[in-house]
Amino acid sequence: MLADPKGLTPRALELMHKVADGSADSQEREEWAQSLATSPTLYPEFEAIKRVVQQVDALPLVEPPASMKAGILKELRQRRPATAVPLVSKTARSRWQRPALAWAAGIALIAGSAYLLERHPQSGATGVNPSDVAGTMGVTNFRSWRIVETREPAAAEMGLKLVLRQDGTLFAVEAQSNGTRIPGTAEFRWDTLALECVGVVPPGDNLEALNRSGTMRLNPARVGGPGLLQPVVVLRARAGFNKPQEVVLLAGGREYHRATISTK
């Protein structure tokens, strides 16, 4: 709470606001009245807060467009076939089942893999130089987090190992290269509604843009060769989403790895 310039005690401050917004019960109103009686200098403060409450309460309410509901349902019907299809499959799978999204995702994954490999002197170390991580949180020590899943390279000609680490609601997904070059492009993809990107290696990507697209593309020019930087995306599970989520690594035009993130 902000410091109160008038020297109100926390209790008096709460009473003042509750009386001003009408949420105080009779006992609290009486208690506030006694406070005012003993400290009349509080009255101007009380009046000022009451005016603010009235001004905000007086903001006009505007009805949503009458067509909004119809528009939502029309869009849903167009997205789904006429026959009811249960929504019980995992989110990621239902997304990829849509041809346009699957196509776009494929392109994105190809781009992503190529970005994975960048020269990085500490790629095998426990920690990572903070200057090599873009992010707003203390994510530079992600290599010390618990490994919850590893996926070995799916094909000898595209040697990408995926490592998933967890620290509470934070998850670091790393693509480790065995030095072979990714044909085409590659990328990480995740659900922006359930997961927030809070850091990436190497730095350079705009986190806001990543959180809008749910895609971290891996620059093809940076892929290939041993001892190169291993790209990482650090994701945080958003509040309210406690179902398992999937992060997909696309490479060479197809799904290469899929890691499951769960806070349970």
């Binding site: 709470m1 603010v52 409450v53 001004q55 949503p64 909004m68 849903l76 009811a84 299809v85 309210g240």
Partner: protein, 183 residues
Amino acid sequence: MFEEESDSAIVDRCRKGDIEAFGTLVDRYQRPIFHAVLHSVWNYEDAREISQQSFLKAFEHLDTFDTNLKFFSWIYRIAMNESINHLRSRRASEPLQDDAAYPAATLDPQAAFEALQRSNAVHRAMAALEDKYRAVLILCHILQLSYRDAAESLNLEEKTVKSRLFSARQLLRERLEDMGHAG
């Protein structure tokens, strides 16, 4: 006696593919969601689009919804995330229009202008607040939620909501005084 179907029961039907059932949830929550978004982005058309997208996203992600939460709390967070993303992209590209929030005024022109002027001053002051302060003002004043319901919507403790609300009112008062709109 007729009992209103619970949100979680409707969500169950939606998860089985019943699109029409989702219309009931839209009926229940389109007004508060639209109001919350409108007072965040302050543009009628943008608010319509963001609200609509929020419901579509909610439907698409119903399998991730935790039925221990209230549906409103969940879709409110979706809508606020969408609004924040929209504001971030707009700040980089275009200024906010003072009169963009409302469709054509239905009051007489002078009264409409004065009402808009007053509400715009309050809104400009609100827009200058940090997101966390604006959120409690929207929930507790615009949507008229109790402290407890606002706390649930924001995934905060009730005492934190109170603290933020009291601070938000104080900050709003100072900004309105600076703008010459102290009431």
